[in-house]
Symmetry: C3
Subunit: 265 residues, 3 copies
Amino acid sequence: MKSVYLDKIRSQNPLVHTITNTVAAHFSANGLLAVGASPLMSAEPVEAECLSHISRALVINIGTLSGKDPQAMLAAGRFANRAGIPVVLDPVGVAATAYRRETVARLLDEVRFSVIRGNAGELAYLAGVGWQAKGVDAGEGDADRAEIARIVAEQYGCVAALSGATDYISDGRRAAQIANGTPMFEKITASGCLLGAICGAFAAVADGAVFEAVCEACTAYAVAGERAAAALQPSELGQFGVRLLDELGALSAETVTHQARIVYA
Amino acid sequence: MKSVYLDKIRSQNPLVHTITNTVAAHFSANGLLAVGASPLMSAEPVEAECLSHISRALVINIGTLSGKDPQAMLAAGRFANRAGIPVVLDPVGVAATAYRRETVARLLDEVRFSVIRGNAGELAYLAGVGWQAKGVDAGEGDADRAEIARIVAEQYGCVAALSGATDYISDGRRAAQIANGTPMFEKITASGCLLGAICGAFAAVADGAVFEAVCEACTAYAVAGERAAAALQPSELGQFGVRLLDELGALSAETVTHQARIVYA
Amino acid sequence: MKSVYLDKIRSQNPLVHTITNTVAAHFSANGLLAVGASPLMSAEPVEAECLSHISRALVINIGTLSGKDPQAMLAAGRFANRAGIPVVLDPVGVAATAYRRETVARLLDEVRFSVIRGNAGELAYLAGVGWQAKGVDAGEGDADRAEIARIVAEQYGCVAALSGATDYISDGRRAAQIANGTPMFEKITASGCLLGAICGAFAAVADGAVFEAVCEACTAYAVAGERAAAALQPSELGQFGVRLLDELGALSAETVTHQARIVYA
């Protein structure tokens, strides 16, 4: 893989309207800024239309869904669709509660998503495949992860990114597996949420090549994680969160291209 | 004290439903993950029942109480009681406003708490003991802290944990004092909130021995703080927050047992 | 400039009621604590009156304005005015949406602000001067920044602080330019929000000398940033956020006085 989109983000600084959870808000905004995007966090339905005119992508993350959030997400999603900008869904813990399942069902019904990113438990639920998810964690299951990604992509007409030790990307027709990464990602909260937001930044500059952009987003993020973990002990998770932002800030197209371990199927 | 519960958290990864404030959300989730628990942050009443079925403990922190939060806390508290899982109350700044006082009164009336954790000002208020609290800070007073903890424990039929330079734990009958810790805890926000959440993780695996579990929770946390502060200047509070997470991640039962400076009364 | 107010904050620990956005909440609370203030975050209108009696300043930041926030801001602002404590406005991204413009217009109409702090795009909007703001970023424009600050100060009868590579402070009559700082401030989110909160802490101990206090606040913050950046690579933005808190914690009046590069016009 040759990195193409990272430099576009750095030169175009796309505004990414992000509706995310209270846990990930600061970390995601800092991570978006580090890759070169311009984050704008807002969960107010009333300003959704205005924001759709100035944003280049919308990210919807349901991690701490509450109150008027579902309306804000539906409103922002519809306006983003109308404005023709890519929309990313991060269905955090979707299988955990009826409220999350129903909100996501409605979102999938009324909004066209360009990208759905989640862990195995979340995407298995969306694919209708048996899995033991655990709250907002991936949990455990036997189903084939590449197949789960393919089903989600096909069913919802989007690019699906299933994150984990290996990342599986699919647009329903093409597929990729990314071997980059570090176990430390699982030891900090919001690392998946930040990746979802970064998928939004890459999709923003993709000019329609969303599969390629999401493959690069997941690879770049995993490479940054590898580099952040390299100098740390496995238990130094506080420092990992800090160094991950450093590495996202320092990441170059050359580094991503050079370190990428992606296989297309 | 011999550390027993830390390893149980690490092997059982209990889901801890946490309703906390916007300041502490990210830090608390990272800290819970670092000790081995599985944090799920949610303040939406509609999903409280679902969450009570998959959680092993509930933590209620009123630090930035607002809007529907009181309803969410009451609903989650009642469902947690019905499910038989321990509930922790962190009455942040309870004495500061009528709104906080009334919400906490209602919570104490309608929900059975296994643990109440707070600073001297907060617990003095709950004990009906004179004290000059200051906003969400402990403030100053002359009352005996061990006695405040005992009164809170007795009055509300719970384990009370009064945090400060020395921690005072009481279940109304037994009492403990923990000398571990560092002044740096007071220099970062949300350090008390994270301890409240960690009490939830320990209570989750306590099998009814809540007093013992809370004693270990407060000791383990204070030991991690000591270790984090050891390599830092007193003014390096940014790094203290980061290193505290590192040390929580690295903490072993052996370290806690070895470094514990706890006295039972 | 001789630093006067930093030591007052450290000795008086003024309570600063802060209504801020979900991205900046943790960072701002930690930064306020680091300079010696006592942060209390609350966006609940019901407790606004109580808080006005115990607070020494109020900070209103509209970064993730939503739901009942405008009411909470108006209520808190009116009670703060009645209590005679200084109120700081941080009009994050005000030009981006009608919802933000209208909320800020109403705030400016119904609340007397002692300080308005923002980037060039935000203050140019308030001054009615042409500018290309971009979401919550400063954007680009040709207008004279000192003049923008002067107009805002004059129009709203407050001290205006326009932040950027150079900071421009004005009370409509007097003006100052601060050359301290580092480009790394722009690489982390919430750095402007934290400065707004810190202006609140300095105004709290200003005894009416708000212009002088805001000049020192912006200088002290910029000096802390310089010192934090000194040991880092330009891409190490994760560490910059951490070290900035360290430096705010370590900052002395002597350091501020010695390193200040402020020119009064």
